[in-house]
Symmetry: C5
Subunit: 354 residues, 5 copies
């Protein structure tokens, strides 16, 4: 988790518009899939080389080009040039540490969001950049490596379920955004379950591990918040902006996505508050326990230290100690000791320690 | 309480507008009641099947259709289609984890709020979604399971008390909102009583249980705040928005509801501040107590440890220890010990420990 | 103080506009006084029955009707109906847990503020609702029970001091607001004095009582803030709103009241900051003291525990312990003990403990 | 410092516009100086009586009337009436606990700021009110007692250095504001030096005095902030407001003053953050030290307490204790004791305590 | 680091527009370089005296005059007068403790930013002021002493890489801003690495040094934030302001710089949150450790103190102690002691201490 806020080495001094991939480099080949559809027709292909993609620029149907793997910079550049995309945008696509944002151009809209996944091995959240170019008759989406959360959208396209095949590329873009945001709920649910488990643990038997787990969750929420907060703005702009590319009928759906993001943010804030409350409770409980420990020590010590002193007195070897010769010396000392102990106990009772 | 911020499993990848009930599924049959009224007439019926409800769409009176139980999805859908309600709205009605919101459509207004109830068995707050559709001559309200907080409104309709029978559906919708918000005060009052009780306990005899109770209340306030904060916006929009469905004479009543919500929010904030203050006081008191405990231990130990050492010295069995033979050895040692103890006590007095 | 944020039992489900007095019911009779004046004339009377008040509605002079005691609901209602006041406003007047607010109507302005008083017996702040109705030629003010802070205004009216007799009812309303806000300064001054006293106590000899007092003051500031913060908005609205009822010449005086409220708020914020700083200082001082206590205990214990152990060794009764027979055994042991103690002391000095 | 947030006794119930001096009353005579100048001419006089000042109202040059000492209320009133100043403004001038503010009137602008000084004897900041009246051809400034920070402005006027003699009264007012704000930097510098010194002390040898000093600085910053924050607004209004009295050429200089105040605010915020960080460090260091102390105590005590117990066993006087007769009893016990001590030490090493 | 927030001694009372260098005075000669270029031509020179620079004011190409070292005030003034720069601007250039800002004049734009560098010897961040004057055909940049971060821009100009030679002075100014902001990422990366290292250290083996390092990083972030926060506004103004000096084609590049600054700010905020979380974890861990230490002490002490007391009893020298004569006295006492110890251990187990 410690590494999550790492800022990638930026290419200081390089001319803007120069395409340099920054991110985790992966050996796998990039995979380009194209889906071209309208109400009646549906075509799906996996492009072997880039040229196969070019004709879809002028397709009369809606074309969705999905590029999985953005590290092969020249590929991104060629497609970009063919579809008339600004070099700064291409730079942002391959430079995968962008902040979520939306930019409106004359011939397309550029959207950057973060897709999240929970890595079970390392027990940490992974964020991946998703770029979406929404043109007048096409959508190009760029992903990094996470297994495809866009599959349900593909299924709906294939089976022509719902209204998706009857709508334009703006609705497709909405569907992609929606599936990304829906995924945030899955992440939150996971964190929520962890919080519930920790909460039970906290009341039952808190350990130092509980503390570390609370901090770990706090860091994950800082991480989530950093990516989701700007997403709110992105969807809000998309919905408000009067754009040639987004029909009014789609706008109401974007409002729906916006509501979901707000709900995610609300939940993150509640989680943060609850974690703070849990941390306070942990610390207070620890401090209470310390109090208990100190009380036990103090009661035992303050009772026995004076008694031991008395015993020490009569363990001295002076020749002339009259008490030692008294016949009742021993029982009298016992009586004295018991009295001292009882007075101590009464005092502690008065102080409400016992 | 731990479960309260749980985000329901969202139906990732499902086409928007698909009606899937998300919430606590209940076995009871949904119950549909209709009240149709104007100044002079009043009709009330419990619908056995959905078709009975249909004619009220075109009633010339004000019709209030209340649906108790939203898990029977097809029922919701049929009525929705008949009354011309958008599929996304229907989805939100059955999907009962919405954030409070208001949406303005051409032929109706859609309002979502949360109704709160205190579950005495589990000692926790329960939130339930209430959806209200305000049309030109009808109001449809959807509830989950809580016993009916709308009864007083029904009574006023039946007995024609106040102005309610003389007004349109907007006033009815206001009356429903008002009864929901009035209920928030009941919840707050309960929390307020708990805070007062805890405050007395805190000054009297704080226990670790007190601490847990403070945290429990803090969590409840986080929970309340999450639902009530967006409600403010809802009522504010209703009041400001110039809508065909809300008459100006009703607007002043909505202002009143708005004032109440602000007051609820103010009180929640004050409660939060006071709980923080109480938590601080608890911790400081605990730390003071620790100080007291340590002081007692230290005073007793630092007085008796040196004395015990002196006793230990003259308990040694060396053959050649001249003091042991002295006739006044024993009383001299007692004098020494008492002197040491007095010096210690004087020192502690100087340090203002005693 | 614990009771101060209590929300009164609201009349859940009652039709809006139903007058139910909520607040502390008092047995005393309500007292109605009327002052009717212009530059030249001045008339003052205590109304025996409500009808005496009615004619002043159409008086050509400025009439100030002050009603002390709002629990007699029918009285408030009758006057309200006569002066044409909306039923929701009347409800707010008798329902004395309103948030400070201002509402503009066609024929009058309705203002709610809180008057504060310090109850010396219970050592807590009391807030009381003051409602003011500003009409075109009259002002009606409603108070609860606090002794009259409006007396100075009456005196100025009687003696025709300042410009008050030359001005209209808006200036009278301003004068009432001003006397309420001036009273806030008196409250703040009291709190300020308490803070100063606590600050001295904190540096001189802090006790657990100091801590409770700091928390008590913090709660009082939360309480003050809750009432004064919305007052700011009230006066600001009155000043900005272009109203038929408020002349421009009065507006500059309202600006003055506004400045005073801002100053009150600033001071409250500063007090909060200072109390937080004092709390921090208290806790740090307590923790420093604990450190001191622990140091003393540790120094004494770690010096004498090893020495006592050595003494214990030579107190053993083994038959064959050669040291016990040595002629110099006893002085050698003393030398050893002194060496151990000195080494310990040197070590503590190195650690900068002594 | 404790007294710094004290709110002066307000004159509750007094008619507005009544001039009552509130502030520290000083026995010295008020001193009135007049400087009348244009590019070519320069006249400076100390007025013996008020009437000498009157003619400057209609002087064709720029006249600067500086009144040092505002407790002589009738003097302030006479000049005020002559120069046509509103009675509420005169009240604010003599009532020296105003919040910094600016008010625009038809024939003049009224500005209130605070001048700060460091009292070396009491080691605390002193704030003093400065009022400035900017008319079409005159500036009247009112000060309390601090030695004159306006002297450099006077010197520039006398020597005709810079552009000041060529400009109008608005530039003169700017010069006065600028010298007040420049003085804030001197105060900040002093605080900055104290922070640096404390920071060194904190890393070197923190004492309880360090803690008190940090809190003292925190309070001073609360104090500073309270006065400087509203000053920002004052200068901003002056600069933005299109006023007959402020020429555009002066506006750019006011922008400069505004930038300085923003910088002062930034620095105050940074100082607050740094002080919080220092406080945290202090507390953590104290807690670390406590840990160290406890560790030493625990190591010594847990090693020697069992050993002392063993010695105690063989110091018992039972007649039948076989070990006491063994020839090797004594060395065996020594071996046992050393073993116990070594085991303990190994255990502590494992716990990384030593 | 302690010195970083130091406010330079301001020249109180000096006439505005007087050029006084405030900053670190350096003995090195200022160095003036000029680059004059268009698409086809490129000329670079190091000016020996100021007069060489003058002709470039009217060059038809784009001229970039870079002045390294601003302490030689007369040089700055002469160039300033030649290029028609306002005296207040010149004052800000040499007075190197400005807040980042932008000012729009009729014939040029004045930009102030901070350049950051990490001083490896002192292990602290250094901030240096960079002023940029953007005119219609020239850019003048002023730096203090840091080795040149503008070198990559020079290289791109020399080699005519990218679009820089084809664009006007606005693009050059953008390139300078971009290289400054890119440098912020380098600083952040360094801090991020330190945070990661500290995070590992924290979980592995935290020491008091860890704590100091966390605080050191917190201070550095306060320092960074103070300079970068206003930079956001600067770039935002440049981008929004419709200025004659900035072409629309450059505006999109400025948007890019703006996005970077937002990202820097986001990262700073996340770092702050994470450092707070780490500090909490450190303190909680320390407190947990204390708990452990206290537990060990308490367990050992409370077991052995009573046992030692028992041993002490039978070490007393009373003549008449019947137990001492019992044949089984010694083993019985051992049995008693072992019982006491076992009971204690059982009790601690019940308390879940062991």
């Amino acid at each position: 988790m410690g590494k999550m806020v790492h800022v990638g080495s930026r290419k200081v001094g390089v001319a803007p518009g120069t395409l340099i991939h920054i991110g985790k480099k992966h050996l796998t080949e990039p995979k380009i899939t194209v889906i071209d559809y309208n109400v009646d027709n549906f075509q799906e292909l996996v492009a072997e080389n880039i040229e196969e993609v070019y004709p879809f620029k002028d397709s009369e149907n809606v074309s969705w080009i999905n590029i999985h793997g953005v590290h092969q910079v020249d590929l991104i550049e060629k497609i970009g040039i063919h579809f008339g995309i600004h070099s700064l945008v291409l730079e942002d696509i391959v430079h995968t540490d962008q902040r979520p944002k939306v930019e409106f151009f004359d011939s397309y809209i550029y959207i950057v969001l973060k897709m999240l996944q929970y890595d079970k091995d390392k027990e940490e959240l992974i964020a991946e950049q998703v770029s979406i170019i929404l043109g007048s008759n096409f959508v190009i989406s760029y992903q990094e490596v996470i297994e495809d959360t866009f599959d349900p959208v593909r299924d709906r396209l294939r089976s022509s379920k719902g209204r998706i095949r009857k709508q334009g590329p703006d609705y497709l873009a909405y569907a992609l955004l929606d599936s990304i945001v829906d995924n945030y709920f899955v992440m939150l649910e996971k964190i929520g379950e962890n919080i519930d488990a920790l909460d039970d643990e906290l009341l039952d038997k808190p350990t130092p591990k509980t503390l570390e787990d609370i901090h770990h969750l706090k860091k994950e929420l800082i991480f989530l918040r950093k990516f989701i907060w700007p997403s709110r703005e992105v969807v809000s702009s998309l919905q408000r902006e009067e754009s040639f590319f987004i029909k009014e009928s789609t706008s109401i759906f974007l409002k729906d996505v916006y509501d979901h993001i707000i709900q995610v943010m609300d939940t993150i804030e509640s989680y943060r508050d609850i974690l703070s409350t849990m941390l306070d409770l942990y610390l207070s409980t620890a401090s209470n326990k310390m109090n208990e420990i100190m009380k036990v020590l103090t009661i035992i010590a303050t009772i026995f230290i004076p008694l031991t002193f008395i015993a020490g007195i009569y363990g001295m070897n002076f020749e002339y100690m009259p008490e030692l010769k008294w016949h009742l010396g021993y029982p009298v000392i016992w009586a004295l000791m018991i009295t001292v102990a009882l007075v101590m106990l009464a005092y502690f009772r008065k102080l409400k320690w016992i």
